[in-house]
């Protein structure tokens, strides 16, 4: 294994989310992949900052896996960002602890991709909405990869959900096994495309 992958998962109502249960079920329990369920660990929002920092240091690829709530992430993940990415550690003078790690987001949205277009229902693209996350990652001297997005989560048929989660599984495998060419991957809008391509190849 080349990269150690940390999935920071945040879903306040995980048990009711079809799509996220299916996605998470694809996370292999094996060395090199850590599934870190924030709402299960910190139901009182009392994040153990030191433990989180240690966890970050022990991984190379960090995935923020969450539903896309109000064009952003659930509150606990924001709390996590607020608390863990400390000045002088993650950013600012001497804040080099996370340098050169790779971060990406795995999202589920209710709306279809067509809604996230200029002139679409939501008026902005997903990538535009994710700008604060992208910049947070860059400020911490890390590399931001395009997201893996499952659109229209409520409308997906069981077969489609299975297909999406299979892609997620292969994303995890690829992230783990391949040397990541950040510049090349950054050209994709979504990493879903990359996975489809590599699968074809």
């Amino acid at each position: 294994m080349l990269n150690r992958v940390l999935i920071i998962f945040a879903h306040p109502l995980f048990e009711k989310s079809r799509i996220n249960r299916e996605l998470v079920s694809q996370v292999p329990s094996q060395e090199g992949i850590t599934f870190h369920d924030l709402y299960e660990l910190y139901p009182d929002f009392n994040i153990d900052v030191e433990a989180e920092k240690a966890l970050l240091l022990a991984h190379d690829v960090i995935i923020w896996n969450h539903p896309f709530y109000w064009y952003s992430c659930p509150a606990l993940l924001k709390q996590w960002i607020d608390m863990v990415l400390e000045v002088g550690w993650a950013y600012g003078p001497g804040g080099t602890a996370l340098q050169d790690k790779v971060v990406m987001q795995v999202l589920s949205t209710g709306g279809p991709q067509a809604a996230y277009q200029h002139g679409g229902h939501n008026r902005f693209t997903i990538r535009e909405f994710l700008a604060p996350f992208e910049q947070t990652v860059r400020l911490c001297r890390m590399h931001y990869l395009p997201p893996f997005v499952v659109h229209g989560a409520h409308r997906l048929q069981p077969a489609e959900i299975r297909a999406q989660s299979a892609e997620y599984a292969s994303l995890l495998r690829t992230l783990q096994e391949e040397a990541l060419d950040v510049a090349r991957l950054s050209q994709y809008t979504y990493l879903n495309e990359w996975i489809k391509e590599t699968k074809v190849l």
């Binding site: 009392n46 607020d82 400390e86 000045v87 600012g92 003078p93 860059r138 400020l139 001297r141």
Partner: protein, 639 residues
């Protein structure tokens, strides 16, 4: 004299210290331990003490007086008034029923009416010392059986007064008052003055208790001398007992009234903790005296006669008590506890026998035999209760369980078991139930059990520390066991049984405080919930908020405090081993608290959350001004 005293004290204390822990270890009550140690050091075994066991008993009877004072302290007059019907009902039924049956028995044996009546009255008494001590030790004082037993005992205490008055009337020979041993100041007065004096004395206790004792205690408390307070407490009890003896009332009864008067005063707990050890020691001494005074020689001479009488007397008492329990609709388990508990002959019988013997109603041979019978009957109670606990009560508990299973055999065992369904346990049960999780509940309060069954909870009545009950409740198959019994001691006992017999079962344990938590940790429990932590932190957070702290900051401090405290607990658990072996005194606990508070200040657990702290962030970023850091900078560095 001095050396003699020391030698005696040595014998008594050593006997108690050796026998009682052994008795407790093998599951007997301390009463039996004391009785056995009395026999061991008595004239018929090791012979360390001779016949003075009797005298010791008379001194030690004062323990009973103290016990009733303590009981009075726990019972406010209003609560007592509520019990009046139960006292009269249970009391008359027991006394009349037992006396009549025993009278019939003795008449059938060909005794004279006088002797038969005097002995029947004496034998109908039960032992306050044994019953209340045992009930308290087993934590059963507040059960229906416990309260009913108390009613009977209290009525007997009151009844002693008329009985002592009747006995001389039965006597064929006149006795001079001063020979009776119950000479009181008012004996020579005409009856109506006596009545007035008796009422006056009780009234005096009430008035003096309310208007003189409390202010006096306040004064003493101000001196700050602990031993002065202890002395005052003792003085109070002794004075009341003395006064009562002077007017011919039972000292125990008087001190009970005095206790009740002081129950609502602010000194209630102080008095309790001051008198408690004296009571305990004196009662222990009393039981040792009983053990030592059993005349084994008499036993050896007529073993079958004594054995027959003991079993007949206990049998009759049991019969009467069981019928009363039935009439008053006690549940089977409560009824057995009630009847077996009160089945012995009480310490008042010793007094009544010696009095009767002075009145020449009884000859010395029978006095000796009856005294021995009384003492032996006292020995049987702890054994009977033990048998009840092991063999009879489980039968009711498991029988109910079996019935329920038969009625609903498809139903599987619940995944969760809750032991103890008081305020703590029921809160847990309600929250689980609101989320569709049904739990099997164990509780030893039969009223509670009935209510819960009506509400559709699956409840097993009984002592949760019993292995068979745990098995019946499905502890072998359950996922979670919630140990939420009110008494930390019983809870620990339960957890001990659980960890021993169901090692795979996950236990969530209630603990009263950190000292309980330490013990639970030593048993290997990791999920420990201290009653005194979360509520207190919650309160402190609100206090901080009331003082102007932002609620969220205060809440975070509270969260951190809990975290810090729980980590500290684990750390300290290992280092406190030297303390765990013996009971922590109040002083040690205070020192410990001091250390904790000191550590909090030093360790500064409450370091700021700098994530949102603008000043902190600014200070850090200002350093960067010399080397401005922009995103382009970052990418430049990467290249």
């Amino acid at each position: 004299m001095n050396g003699d005293f020391l030698a005696q004290a040595l014998v008594y204390l050593a006997a108690a210290v050796f026998c009682v822990p052994i008795a407790k270890k093998i599951g007997m009550s301390s009463v039996l331990g004391y009785l056995l140690s009395g026999i061991v050091i008595g004239p018929y075994a090791l012979g360390f003490i001779g016949q003075e066991g009797q005298d010791i008993m008379h001194v030690a009877e004062f323990g009973v007086v103290m016990m009733l004072f303590l009981i009075g302290l726990e019972l406010e007059p209003a609560a007592f008034w509520q019990m009046r019907r139960s006292i009269v009902g249970f009391g008359t039924a027991q006394l009349a029923g037992t006396t009549l049956l025993l009278l019939a028995l003795f008449m059938a044996l060909g005794w004279s009416l006088t002797m038969a009546l005097a002995v029947a009255l004496a034998l109908s008494m039960s032992s306050t010392a044994i019953v209340l001590q045992t009930l308290k030790e087993k934590g059963l004082s507040n059960t229906i059986a416990g309260k009913s037993s108390f009613s009977v005992l209290l009525f007997q205490d009151i009844a002693v007064i008329p009985i002592l008055a009747i006995l001389p009337l039965l006597a064929t020979t006149a006795v001079l008052p001063h020979e009776s041993g119950h000479h009181s100041l008012i004996d020579d007065q005409p009856g109506w003055i006596q009545t007035i004096l008796v009422i006056g004395a009780v009234g005096a206790i009430y008035a003096v208790g309310n208007y003189a004792v409390v202010p006096l205690l306040r004064l003493v408390a101000k001196t700050g001398l602990r031993e002065m307070f202890t002395a005052s407490s003792l003085l109070l009890v002794v004075a009341v007992a003395f006064l009562m003896q002077q007017v011919g009332l039972s000292p125990a009864l008087g001190s009970f009234v005095a206790g009740m008067v002081l129950a609502s005063s602010e000194f209630r707990h102080e008095l309790e903790s001051d008198i408690e050890p004296f009571k305990g020691l004196l009662l222990g001494l009393f039981f040792i005296g009983v053990g030592a005074s059993i005349n084994f020689q008499l036993l050896a001479e007529a073993p079958s006669q004594i054995a027959m009488l003991v079993s007949l007397i206990i049998g009759i008492k049991l019969l009467v008590l069981l019928s009363i329990g039935k009439i008053f609709k006690l549940k089977h388990d409560q009824n057995f506890l009630f009847a077996l508990g009160l089945s012995q002959v009480g310490e008042f019988a010793f007094v009544l026998f010696s009095f009767s013997s002075q009145l020449q109603i009884l000859d010395s041979d029978w006095t000796g035999k009856l005294t021995a019978i009384t003492a032996i009957s006292m020995m049987t109670t702890p054994v009977l209760l033990l048998i009840n606990e092991r063999f009879i009560a489980p039968y009711f508990g498991t029988k109910e369980a079996v019935e329920e299973k038969a009625a609903d055999s498809i139903e599987e065992h619940h995944r969760v078991i809750i032991a103890g369904f008081g305020h703590f346990g029921s809160t847990i049960g309600r929250l689980l139930r609101a989320n569709g999780v049904e739990a099997t509940i164990l509780d030893n309060n039969s009223d509670q059990v009935e209510l819960l069954r009506k509400m559709g909870f699956k409840v097993y009545y009984g002592d949760a520390t019993r292995l068979d009950l745990l098995k019946a409740a499905g502890a072998g198959e359950a996922t979670l066991f919630i140990a939420a019994i009110d008494s930390p001691e019983i809870n620990k006992e339960l957890i001990h049984t659980l960890t021993k017999h169901f090692p795979g079962l996950k236990v969530l344990a209630r603990a009263r405080n950190r000292f309980d938590a330490y013990e639970l940790m030593e048993m290997g429990i990791t999920n420990i919930y201290r009653e005194t932590l979360y509520t207190a932190v919650h309160l402190a957070v609100d206090a901080l908020s009331q003082l102007g702290f932002r609620k969220y900051s205060a809440t975070r401090q509270g969260q951190k405090f809990i975290q810090y405290d729980e980590r500290g607990l684990t750390k300290l658990a290992s280092s406190r081993h030297d303390l765990s072996e013996y009971i922590m005194t109040a002083r040690q606990q205070i020192e410990y608290q001091e250390k904790l508070l000191h550590d909090d200040l030093m360790q500064n657990f409450s370091s700021e959350d700098h994530s949102w702290d603008g000043t902190y962030v600014r200070d850090n970023l200002l350093q960067a001004d010399e080397q401005p850091l922009t995103p382009s900078d970052v990418s430049a560095r990467k290249e």
